[in-house]
């Protein structure tokens, strides 16, 4: 079959140029845009929000704040020599965190930073979103609730940042591609955190009786999932920052408005009252990384330095609850560190719930508040009150005999002991306590000759590079 050419002569000549041009033109028509199939856009939250998205973001503050929680407990636990992570495949848990020489370009030296600031960025985005929210989505009280919740979390995140670094930026609500925010000192970071918590309290006072979102399991467990409950949590967190900066009068004032309670027939449950980071094993949820895997190890001094209980020869009940021998009495060793102890805490002994990978990590709880009050009373001259609080914790949580021999001089050692065992492997308190009392050199040459515990983590490498400094620390 012949395909005849019917177009002749000059018309044929004129055929070619449009055909060629048509090839390029045809390439220009048609819509080929494709959406993001996998995630919602941040523009939706910032510029075009609705109640559902705001609520999900508010819950997300817990989610992004908890990303770091396990690592925070683990790394600061190693710096405080309560714990070790002896992993053959990753020896930097020893060669950096135990040695003391932290490399800002690795996970050990540069960690505990990005996720916290991610949480702060989410918080700031929520605050902007509330400004762009259409009128009928959330009531004024509900909006204040979200604001209060957000400011409280931001304050908590900055506190954690201040705990780990000597320098950190605070004015980070800027364009992400602009010049990095200026570095502030640790004291300035704590001051900023206090201001955020106070501003959050003002919001919570106007927040009505309920939040618009479902507070997560770690908050609802002890009934803190309402504005009234969060106000108490807010004041507790504020008291903690005051303790870290040494403002003891302020500690007492804020604790009075928190959820601190010392009923006469107190139990372990009383001690556990508080708010927690929740974890879960469901699809899309996050598991508690402190529970799994053989490399986790506890320091042997926890055992040898534990006091004995009231009756018989048993060790401090807090030790018995939280630490045990490895299976078969095996010893785990790496690079000269040897220990046969492992934590039952989080695994078999959760604060609540069934344990395992859904085990929660405390944000702040009653036992810590009571110890804070003990310290503040001692520091402001109320020694009998301080001793009462200390013994309250000793007897209920540790099952130890109350101390009758305490004076202003030996109170500090007693306090350090109680805080060490009560708050073991919860939030780096061993390290923080020794540091704020200027006693970090007690950890020198432990467990091996040449080891020491540094004052702070270095500024992460990426942060240094972005500020134009490229060497191994800035």
């Amino acid at each position: 079959m012949r395909i005849k050419s019917y177009v002749r002569g000059r018309a044929r000549r004129a055929l070619v140029v449009p055909v060629a041009a048509g090839a390029l033109w045809a390439a220009g028509c048609g819509d080929i845009s494709i959406p993001d199939y996998n995630r919602p856009a941040i523009d939706d939250l910032a510029n075009n929000p609705n109640a559902t998205l705001i609520n999900a973001a508010a819950v997300g503050l817990v989610g992004s704040s908890r990303q770091d929680a396990a690592n925070y407990v683990r790394y600061t636990g190693i710096l405080g020599r309560e714990a070790y992570y002896l992993d053959a495949n990753e020896n930097r848990y020893v060669t950096q965190l135990v040695d003391g020489d932290l490399d800002p370009s690795s996970f050990a030296g540069g960690g505990l930073w990005t996720n916290r600031y991610g949480s702060i960025r989410l918080g700031n985005t929520i605050l902007h979103a509330l400004d762009n929210l259409p009128a009928n989505q959330l009531s004024d009280a509900q909006q204040e609730g979200v604001r209060g919740w957000t400011q409280t979390f931001k304050g908590h995140d900055f506190t954690i940042i201040g705990n780990t670094r000597l320098l950190a930026p605070t004015a980070v609500d800027i364009e992400p591609t602009a010049d990095p925010a200026p570095l502030q000192s640790r004291a300035q970071v704590y001051a900023y955190a206090k201001a955020l918590l106070d501003s959050g309290l003002v919001n919570l006072n106007a927040a009505g009786t309920a939040f618009s979102f479902n507070a997560t399991p770690g908050f609802t467990q002890y009934g803190f999932g309402t504005p009234a409950g969060m106000k108490q949590v807010n004041r507790a967190l504020r008291a903690r920052v005051d303790l870290l900066t040494g403002n003891y009068a302020s500690v007492l004032a804020n604790l009075a408005q928190s959820f601190i309670t010392t009923p006469a027939n107190g139990t372990l449950e009383t001690m556990h009252r508080g708010v927690y980071y929740p974890f879960g094993t469901g699809s899309g949820d996050l598991v508690n990384a402190l529970t799994s895997a053989a490399p986790q190890a506890a320091d042997t001094l926890l055992r040898t330095q534990a006091q004995r209980q009231v009756a018989g020869d048993t060790l401090d009940a807090r030790y018995v609850r939280k630490v045990r021998f490895r299976a078969g009495g095996a010893t785990r060793s790496q690079l000269g560190i040897q220990t046969n102890l492992i934590f039952s805490l989080y695994n078999q002994q959760p604060f609540f719930g069934s344990g395992g990978q859904a085990s929660p990590i405390p944000i702040i709880r009653n036992e810590e508040l009571i110890l804070m009050r003990a310290e503040a009373r001692w520091a402001t001259g109320d020694l009998p009150g301080a001793i009462a609080d200390l013994n309250y914790v000793r007897t209920i949580s540790g099952n130890l005999a109350p101390r009758t021999d305490l004076t202003n001089d030996n109170f500090r050692e007693a306090l350090l002991y109680e805080r060490r065992y009560s708050l073991m492997y919860e939030g780096g308190w061993r390290w923080l306590d020794l540091r704020r009392f200027g006693l970090l050199d007690r950890l020198d040459n432990y467990p091996r000759q040449g080891d020491y515990s540094p004052e702070a983590f270095p500024l992460p490498f990426a942060e240094c590079l972005a500020r134009g400094v490229g060497s191994q620390g800035c």
Binding site: L45, A56, N89, L465, Q472
Partner: protein, 993 residues
């Protein structure tokens, strides 16, 4: 009047049309013979300028209708130089003798979607590898391994020694920093997928703590070009840069590999059978330390005394753990069958392959089964249809190797085990090792890790001659095709293993993988003008192309298994992930190719414009021009037979990856309550493709009576608007931003020397030697220097993008500065200084011997595996030599393990030189004499061959060719307990009947 004539002549010169003339016809008969006067069957004879012709039959005879006046006929045959012969009016018969095409100058090279050029006229240095050099001599499991050492300018490196695929082809150095690092693959006109889908190994190895689909590049992934059967390939052309590949637009920045599968030939059905058997074994071991009683007790405590004889202080028994885990002599078998044939209007090629290649560790190996059908049919005298289809099935079991954080990786478990402890089972029970968290022999024998892929590639090509005259032809060429693959990964790690990455949820199983569909089509018009005077040939072509890719990934991980259930859907704890990536590209082009001055001068100009859905503005067209020329000099002297000068300039692009332009939130839930969190990546609002411009120039000189050719090519490539993922100050809440900026420049040199230098009677020596070198530099970087991810920090050695430096330089700690602070600086380059390939074949009568040596000089490798052995104290050179009490000079290259640990963090003790010479292929073949064959078999050949037989290197790890992170733009050459390399011996027979 004059102006009109001038304009008409101008247009005619480029595009001219004229009405066809109906000339009178006569018949010309003749014969076509080859070098030694043997008749050539199937040679094509046509009137010069026409695309239609006849083929010679048996005896090499033909009959061709030509015009009644003086005529010129053109005769071509595969493997011979083309010839044009004048047939004056009145002459009715002609005898044509063709010369063998030793240098492959007649090979036709694809230069666009619808056009081809003879290699002789090519203005670019396009590498062509034919089936003969690909797998005819030595078998290779995948196509990329078959190409190693054979393409100048291409660095082809495997990522580990695991069976199956997993290799990276990098052409002329790094071509992007964050984009798609692999070339574009086109098979019979269909753009096929080369993605690498993580298989879910991360659920066991926990190498990447952020566990999600496509989040772990450390899953020892296989890029999907491994699915193609190398035995089906007729030829591969590698378009090395923008100056050659410009026509492919914004997918072509990393080069284009054009694959043509085998076609049928007219004639009686021809069967071929290739059957090979082989055995593979481990080719390099690291060794281990011998312990004394005191040393062992020091390191491990008193419990290990039971393994020692207290009298002598020696171990009761020493075990070679590498032998226990990787000591299998693994059998290999491969069968390839094909039949081809046809007549003048129909040609077919049908093939099947069955391959079973076992690996050196238990439960590892690579199986392949597949079939291909290629059909060519002339529907009418003017319309031709080609249909190519292929179905391939492969199963790859690669064990667990590479980086891990759970002691799952076989080599990392071996590293932490002292040599006095055995992994072998006693009475069927595997010992639990107290030294690490897994028994790798138990893991390899009792666990499953399979990647099962079905792949279907089909293409249809229609060519229609719309118009034809004595001087012009116009034809339509359309191609449409689809490439679909379905990858299923199944992992099963029973609860009885010592290895349990999540101790309180024993047993892990993963069902993962994904599927991908590539659809593409193009329509083209090609017009050829060949005036009777023969002054020129002008080919004008224009076309439109549409391409779509859709990749869906999914993975379900189940933990806490009961009994023998090995699917995740019954596990007590299940986690599901998934993800979809889709993109579309729409483009068009116009191209003009001119052959002038007796076909000695060729000029090409083209423009391509395309739009992609991955750009921020999907309506914006980006244009990529090209200009190229080549000229054969008319003079020759006694030394030089011909000399061709060529130069080419072209532009192409690299589109952003799917998702880079979005700034998104991450969803999740807390105990079932939905949450969104900030994800960490921002996409720039004006994200656009990278732009590559390349200038390439060179010459080809043929000598020795056209039996040898020297090619020299130099190129400079400039990439602007690089897609960069820059690290932000993480205090902003975000980690990275995707944006365009910066400039990368590569310059290099490629030299090839090929031919048959010695031919004496029965003896012939054919040689192909290539040399290439490339230097890259980031010439402009608008942001602070940053680490491109995928490394382990400066202590061991990492990478950094910095202005004035190559993007593949290794940065590491390098001593103390004057203040006692550790310096971090560039200590060298990870890409080789230069590479050479030596392919030689000696033929004497019926015997032939060929070899392929691959020499890579320079290039650093970061050897983290050595750090594992040092930290464990099991390195064979762990102890400081007696008499040495202080660590010696850190750069002496003589350090013991203890000294390296001392220096770790201050000196780059784990970065080593990765130069190597590898004997990649050796083959000995013998063609059986015709008398021994019956009358059914027309030829038979037996062969003995080997692959990867020997490596000469100073590198102390398994293999200097390694990449823990798989195929990445930068970040190769990191050695973290990979699968060891193996050598294979083959014995085989090829039959044609």
């Amino acid at each position: 009047m004059f102006k009109r004539m001038f304009w008409a002549a101008f247009v005619l010169a480029l595009f001219g049309f004229a009405s066809p003339t109906m000339a009178q016809q006569r018949q010309v008969t003749g014969t076509v013979t080859g070098d030694n006067n043997e008749p050539l069957v199937g040679a094509e004879v046509r009137v010069a300028g026409s695309s239609r012709g006849v083929r010679t039959g048996s005896g090499g005879t033909f009959t061709l209708p030509v015009g009644s006046g003086d005529a010129r006929i053109r005769v071509t045959a595969l493997g011979y130089r083309a010839r044009e012969v004048a047939v004056p009016a009145g002459q009715a018969s002609v005898a044509v003798r063709l010369e063998a095409d030793v240098l492959g100058l007649e090979t036709v090279v694809v230069t666009g979607q619808a056009t081809e050029v003879r290699r002789q006229n090519l203005a670019n240095d396009v590498a062509v590898v034919t089936a003969r050099d690909l797998t005819d001599r030595v078998s290779a499991q995948t196509l990329d391994r078959a190409l190693q050492g054979k393409v100048a300018g291409a660095t082809i490196r495997t990522n580990s020694g695991a069976p199956g695929g997993g290799a990276q082809i990098r052409i002329r150095g790094p071509s992007t920093l964050t984009g798609n690092a692999t070339p574009l693959y086109v098979v019979d006109g269909v753009i096929v997928s080369d993605v690498a889908i993580p298989g879910g190994q991360n659920a066991i190895s926990r190498a990447n703590s952020a566990a999600g689909v496509n989040n772990s590049v450390q899953d020892n992934t296989v890029n999907r070009i491994a699915d193609l059967n190398p035995a089906d390939v007729e030829s591969i052309e590698v378009l090395k840069g923008a100056s050659a590949a410009s026509i492919y637009g914004s997918r072509a920045a990393s080069g284009v590999v054009v694959i043509t599968t085998k076609r049928g030939r007219a004639g009686a059905p021809r069967f071929t059978l290739s059957q090979r058997f082989g055995v593979a074994s481990i080719s390099n071991k690291l060794g281990a330390r011998t312990w004394t009683l005191d040393e062992a007790v020091d390191a491990y405590g008193d419990d290990v005394a039971e393994y020692f004889d207290p009298a002598t202080g020696e171990a009761l028994q020493t075990y070679d753990l590498e032998e226990q885990v990787f000591g299998r002599e693994a059998p290999q078998a491969e069968t390839n069958l094909s039949v081809s044939g046809g007549n003048e209007s129909t040609q077919y090629y049908v093939s099947a392959v069955f391959a079973n290649n076992q690996g050196i560790a238990h439960n590892t190996g690579f199986l392949r089964q597949g079939g291909t059908v290629n059909l060519r049919q002339a529907l009418t005298s003017r319309v031709r249809l080609n249909v190519n289809s292929s179905v391939q099935h492969s199963v790859a079991s690669r064990g667990i190797t590479g980086n891990d954080n759970s002691s799952a990786s076989y080599v990392s478990a071996i590293a932490f085990s002292p040599s006095f402890f055995s992994y072998e089972p006693q009475n069927g029970v595997f010992p639990r090792t107290p030294f690490t968290d897994s028994n790798p022999l138990e893991t390899s024998m009792l666990s499953t890790n399979n990647e099962d892929v079905w792949r279907i590639i089909g293409s249809v090509n229609l060519t229609a001659d719309l118009f034809e005259s004595a001087t012009q032809t116009l034809r339509f060429v359309g191609t449409g095709g689809a490439d679909y693959f379905d990858q299923q990964n199944r992992l099963y790690f029973p609860p009885t293993l010592q290895l349990q990455p999540f101790g309180d949820q024993p047993g892990t199983t993963v069902a993962g993988g994904g599927n991908n569909l590539n659809l593409n089509g193009n329509v083209n018009l090609v017009h050829v003008l060949e005036p009777a005077s023969g002054v020129m040939t002008a080919t004008t072509s224009a076309g439109i192309q549409y391409e779509e890719r859709d990749l869906r990934l999914q993975q379900v991980t189940g933990r806490f298994l009961l009994g023998d259930l090995d699917l995740p859907y019954q596990a007590a704890n299940q986690v599901a992930f998934g993800n979809r990536q889709r993109s579309k590209v729409l483009g068009g082009y116009v191209q003009e190719e001119l052959l002038l001055l007796d076909e000695r001068l060729s000029l090409t100009a083209s423009v391509r414009g395309d739009r992609s859905s991955n750009n921020a503005d999907t309506d914006q067209l980006y244009f990529y021009p090209k200009l190229a020329g080549a000229y054969w000099f008319p003079w020759t002297n006694s030394y030089l037979d011909s000399f061709k000068l060529r130069a080419a300039f072209g532009a192409s692009g690299q589109e952003p990856l799917y998702g880079q332009k979005y700034t998104a939130l991450t969803t999740g839930n807390i105990g079932g309550i939905p949450q969104v969190t900030v994800t960490g990546n921002i996409g720039a609002a004006d994200l656009r493709p990278e732009r590559v411009t390349e200038f390439e120039g060179g010459f080809d000189a043929t000598v020795l009576g056209e039996r040898a050719q020297l090619s020299v090519t130099a190129y400079r490539r400039n990439i602007t608007d690089l897609l960069l993922s820059r690290g932000l100050a993480t205090s902003s809440g975000f980690v990275t931003e995707f944006f365009n900026g910066g400039e990368l420049q590569s310059t290099g040199l490629e030299i090839g020397l090929q031919g048959t230098p010695i031919v004496r009677g029965d003896f012939a020596w054919t040689s192909n030697t290539t040399f290439s070198r490339n230097r890259s530099e980031v010439t402009s970087l608008p942001v602070p220097e940053f680490s491109p991810g995928n490394s382990f920090g400066n202590t061991y050695g990492g990478y950094r993008i910095a202005q004035g430096h190559s993007p593949t330089e290794v940065y590491a700690v390098n001593g103390l500065d004057e203040n006692g602070v550790v310096k971090v600086e560039s200590i060298g380059e990870s890409e080789p200084d230069f590479q050479m390939g030596f392919l030689n074949e000696l033929r004497l009568g019926r015997f032939a011997m060929s070899s392929l040596f691959d020499w890579s000089h320079g290039g650093l490798v970061i050897n983290l595996s050595r750090n594992y052995y040092d930290a464990a104290g099991t390195a064979p050179d762990y102890l400081m030599p007696s008499g040495v009490t202080e660590p010696r000079d850190p750069y002496c290259g003589c350090l013991s393990g203890q000294e390296r640990l001392e220096y770790e963090g201050t000196y780059p003790v784990y970065v080593e030189d990765g130069s190597f010479v590898k004997l990649r292929e050796v083959a000995l073949t013998y063609d059986l004499p015709g008398a021994w064959l019956g009358n059914r078999v027309s030829s038979a050949q037996i062969s003995v061959s080997g692959r990867n037989l020997k490596t000469w290197t100073d590198y102390t790890g398994y293999d200097p060719e390694v990449s823990n992170f798989g195929n990445v733009p930068t970040g190769r050459n990191q050695d973290v307990t990979p699968f060891p390399p193996s050598r294979t011996f083959w014995v085989g027979v090829n039959l044609v009947f």
